[in-house]
Symmetry: D3
Subunit: 285 residues, 6 copies
Amino acid sequence: MPHTFFCSQDLYESSDIVLLGIPFDATSSFRPGSRFAPDHIRMYSEGIESYSPYQEIDLREIAFYDAGNLEGPINNFSVLRTIIHTQVKEFLTQGKKVFALGGEHLISLPVVEAYTSVYPDLHIIHFDAHADLRDEYLGESYSHATVMRRIYELIEGKRIYQFGIRSGLRQEFEFASQFLHFQPFCLNAEVLRRVAEALIDKAVYVTVDLDVLDPSYFPGTGTPEPGGATFHELLQALFTLEEVNIVGADIVELCPPYDHSDASTMTAIKLIREMLLLMGRSKIE
Amino acid sequence: MPHTFFCSQDLYESSDIVLLGIPFDATSSFRPGSRFAPDHIRMYSEGIESYSPYQEIDLREIAFYDAGNLEGPINNFSVLRTIIHTQVKEFLTQGKKVFALGGEHLISLPVVEAYTSVYPDLHIIHFDAHADLRDEYLGESYSHATVMRRIYELIEGKRIYQFGIRSGLRQEFEFASQFLHFQPFCLNAEVLRRVAEALIDKAVYVTVDLDVLDPSYFPGTGTPEPGGATFHELLQALFTLEEVNIVGADIVELCPPYDHSDASTMTAIKLIREMLLLMGRSKIE
Amino acid sequence: MPHTFFCSQDLYESSDIVLLGIPFDATSSFRPGSRFAPDHIRMYSEGIESYSPYQEIDLREIAFYDAGNLEGPINNFSVLRTIIHTQVKEFLTQGKKVFALGGEHLISLPVVEAYTSVYPDLHIIHFDAHADLRDEYLGESYSHATVMRRIYELIEGKRIYQFGIRSGLRQEFEFASQFLHFQPFCLNAEVLRRVAEALIDKAVYVTVDLDVLDPSYFPGTGTPEPGGATFHELLQALFTLEEVNIVGADIVELCPPYDHSDASTMTAIKLIREMLLLMGRSKIE
Amino acid sequence: MPHTFFCSQDLYESSDIVLLGIPFDATSSFRPGSRFAPDHIRMYSEGIESYSPYQEIDLREIAFYDAGNLEGPINNFSVLRTIIHTQVKEFLTQGKKVFALGGEHLISLPVVEAYTSVYPDLHIIHFDAHADLRDEYLGESYSHATVMRRIYELIEGKRIYQFGIRSGLRQEFEFASQFLHFQPFCLNAEVLRRVAEALIDKAVYVTVDLDVLDPSYFPGTGTPEPGGATFHELLQALFTLEEVNIVGADIVELCPPYDHSDASTMTAIKLIREMLLLMGRSKIE
Amino acid sequence: MPHTFFCSQDLYESSDIVLLGIPFDATSSFRPGSRFAPDHIRMYSEGIESYSPYQEIDLREIAFYDAGNLEGPINNFSVLRTIIHTQVKEFLTQGKKVFALGGEHLISLPVVEAYTSVYPDLHIIHFDAHADLRDEYLGESYSHATVMRRIYELIEGKRIYQFGIRSGLRQEFEFASQFLHFQPFCLNAEVLRRVAEALIDKAVYVTVDLDVLDPSYFPGTGTPEPGGATFHELLQALFTLEEVNIVGADIVELCPPYDHSDASTMTAIKLIREMLLLMGRSKIE
Amino acid sequence: MPHTFFCSQDLYESSDIVLLGIPFDATSSFRPGSRFAPDHIRMYSEGIESYSPYQEIDLREIAFYDAGNLEGPINNFSVLRTIIHTQVKEFLTQGKKVFALGGEHLISLPVVEAYTSVYPDLHIIHFDAHADLRDEYLGESYSHATVMRRIYELIEGKRIYQFGIRSGLRQEFEFASQFLHFQPFCLNAEVLRRVAEALIDKAVYVTVDLDVLDPSYFPGTGTPEPGGATFHELLQALFTLEEVNIVGADIVELCPPYDHSDASTMTAIKLIREMLLLMGRSKIE
């Protein structure tokens, strides 16, 4: 079984993309366990082919370096925030694109912080079941339930595009409608295509909370939320971004202890394969 | 974790709706365990938001009283029948609407018996995978497989509307076609809309056997029957009843021992939230 | 609980169809366990009705003989190949149609070998997630990953129709496009209908690798591959074959150890019921 | 996989012992599911050798007929009671010894009723975690929690020997101390040996509720009760009965839905093998 | 199912003992989930009898008040510490004994802090697999792996008695040998009896990390450590404390997501029953 | 999480011991899956401390090189045999001791073949539930059920010591009694101590089939066999070999798909830690 994603042996120097495991889940309020996701994703990647018949490229044609997992105090976010921020920034200043594997959604905050220091005009496309726009949650400012609010505060204006949200407080839905580009409930491919066109010359970061998928397609997550997207809808949504300049991405909230048949892990792997190909394909075309 | 549904602390006196757990499953012929459903539903309700972005109402705006669970001899239906009937009738005569949480589908019989004594013109909308129209099953007249036949005998004429049925004896399909309003296989929103219009001035009881959902959406049930509705289809079907006067409802056949990822429990919770809002929204509009 | 499929007590002599368990999975490279499928299928068949409301026939109106399981050395394919081939050929020469229950997909090879000796013009309809067209896999010529290549070599020309393939090497996709009738990704009912018409006077063998279904519908398989068909799509695909002369069939790759809720087993059972009815209905019409 | 216990093909006529599945569990108050035990026991018996190195006999040297499972209305004990009683009595009058596979413990009552009609001086050795001596439970006289009280009422005087009891009401412990031979908590081999000697010329029925074992050894049961016997202690206890004339036996309360690793099923199988050998060995010595 | 432990309806005023759920597990470094323990313990307590045949007392003869669960920010220990400390101190100043249900072991620190402010000469008996004596862990001073070191710092001299420790750094074993009463590996009843005598006039707090049990007896814990005590050994160890003045206690580290058969939950319940009886029995004698 | 056992970063050159994963299980006749064991063992080794309080050595004081896993055709034993034999022999000729991680027990055969070519007087200590002494199984000479017979044929005279055997054919028990040193059922420490003394100047290979443990201690194995050793008994048995010159070892038959709580994996890890320390301790003393 592989110890890097798809047994990648690409070197750091020759890779445009760095895959980085960030296995933390301390603010998970319902069911923790996403800390185990990066290693499950690597271990089971032998069960998926490296060739994508959708994009007609083989992952082996794209160079990516699997940097393993970050380490740090699992329940001290202020320390972790610095560790993540520092590491990601180092990769960025060396010209890499980062693909982060969570862990819980809060890990996106320090990753995006690093990105905004290098890409001041960063735009964000966000797929999720939950708005994550609370100002605080259980008395805390930094939580999986507040992460998009904190990211909103980082970047000016309407640079966040949310898709698939189907759960939140009334205030979160109102906030999103007013301050973000907000397309709740579904992953409307037509809207996505227009967004992709509008962002054609922007640096774009894509953050995928896997619970955007319906629990039938993705039971292995901490907070399953019925009524979500099918795998096919999410795949098509991602493919609308084909011409977009994706400078970074993350995929979060796979929770292996609840993935009894491993099908959610397989789903995550296939999505990461397709996203890596989207990020790397410009190089080989 | 909550010990009432969504931590409700509404009082009986000030509530229009009473939530009542009826944790019995003794006639389950294949895989018992739905007796555990009411408490799992309450316990995991902390994982779902109280706000419905579909109906744009918060469950906290609706007063409902969680009356806990009925107790009685688990495998003596004739005693249980009296206990259930008596309790539900008491609630009804005090002007409440009852939302019953099964347990197996047979619990609907004494609930409906109580209703027909108060609402002699009661109409029933029934979502299910199985017709439940046998005259007897394994030598018994009272069983989860005969419950709709017994209910049919309670009320005259064509006052039962069945949706989603995809399993039964040939005789059950013939009986349903002849004596009920019968829309097998799917939850046709157009047909439902017409039914809703026709019933606009009727007292309507809605009984949801959760196995009407496809097992991909709802594996945690005693008798999973492939080929069912998606969560979205069931949700849309329920929303066609927005203008209907739903005087009572039940939701049955969640079987927690087979809900390994808890996603079926979450699905039940979200459906109950939406149904409570449908039942209670007239009060707040 | 039944020890034959649907408690069948039909005799060999009076049955057109023979159901044969072939519980072998030694070449499964990812997650073995499909060896347990035939007996799980029989055991849980009591949870599904014998009447099909789709075809409006009851399985009890079709005579089929459940021949139990083949026995042999579980990890010696060359011996097994002979055992399977010999047994199937014996059934065929006695005028039976065989319905084989895997086990892994490699078991289709000796079954088809027996068929080609009796039906030299055999055509094959193949539903699967994986092309199974490698020339060798892990150094072996005979494997679940090579089975369709070996079958291709058995029969001349374009007599294989593949549907639903969404995983494989680039070379497999190119091979299939060039040498087979190849309809990847989906189960296009329109295309299937045209195929059915074209094959109207042919002897057709149908092989169903259950992982053609999406893992949401069928998590209980060795190599779940996201992005597959819904149960409804597969059922409709099978129904396009209503007029086709199905002389034999198999259904493979149910892996009970990963079917925690038993819903995949129920799905397999329902598909076998419908396929048996398709094979046997000409007799009763 | 076998469809009879250890693939037995012994004929009824030539067998002294009849193995009878009685798959009922309707009074299980905590976690039902023991209805699935007889078939799981048969199916997994291929994982255990037929040779006992303890008794140095092979099960194949003992003739036993596997009569399959009784059928009847699953939640109507008064009908079941008659069905069980009638069948067991028929076997007894034809000179057979019966080995019953539960199901829940209540099934022992009609079995013993049949025995007492043939063996008026029957003595009973009972291994269990729970005294099962309540006079009623949840308002019912016939329940897994009252079964030994009902059996006590059947037979006069001190003819019941209870071992291993570690759970019950204060009244049950007092009743057992006063009216039965009562050796709570442990399976004292010395005491058992004295009991065996005292019963040397009696007809003895052995009833084993598998929860007498500690949950570490037997997690797969409806009501796991910590503090029980080891497998070795139970085996040694049974071996003290080597010279006893065991005319009948049962083994109850294996609950497969909670036996995730199948180890409890394997334990039940091994115990049944040893008990069958104890019952049958006199014939071959 | 009960929503208080053993359905207790005892009032606060009339109870000597207060049961308090503290469902936090944020520092769990390996497998989190003990946050779900208090509610699982309450829910499944219906599966265990209230009568103890060991102590010959019924839990109903002891008055204890189930105060439900503390709430607070799940991953901010400094806030939680204050919440726990404040609540426990309030109970103590009102003359109650507290029985705390974790959660992870770190929750014992603020509980003991509250105790030392009321009982300056508090002695502690600690059952555990792990020494928990690190000075810091993953860069943090407050962690399940440092909790006994922090408690050691709270109280002077040799007032901590550790039993059952079988895992730790070399430094932890050396520290324990030098500064604590340290009886590693086993629960030596003879030693415990001498400790009990020595502490006969002391206020004693008992903290039970359930992983002191061998994983065969207790698989449902975050960090299973093979080689531990049997259930019987732990029970006997507790009974040696019969004459000791137990003024407070906790039981921690049941992790329900890994307790697939619920047997670990049942074990925790039975131990809590016996410990409550030990704490309360002086009142009724 | 670690990708080598205990995150070992020891170099090949400086290590006496080489840890080698051999993830094959194709002849498993009952429940396959031990192929996943080596990687699960590595992944979960972070949950166990590196310090052994039993031997008072830290694994970090012993140099061992984790060579990862062998690769080859999973169900072609004749090819695998050569691959394993060649690799192990290479390690031996370079002066290393090999610790092999199965996989199924058949992998011990080529490992031992390599050893006998270097150590012609090799002695073998074998812990197992099953004798594995059949001459053939399911028609095959090479199988997990024949492996010790094949090893017996490799080495002359009474150089195999079997402990713990409690399952087999009558012929296997007779064969073992006659031709091997055979101590069935238990791990008699006294006998082991005498064996250790007798072998004090021999090169000894230790093979541990983990099903020698009782299923209560080790449910996660392909063929659980009730009545086995406790963890403590196996640990003590291994410690009797402290002075023995263990030149090689293997540990086989952990089957992760059946290890739902991961406790069996933890048990395997702890045993490997102790065995590595036994093999390496002479170097540091």
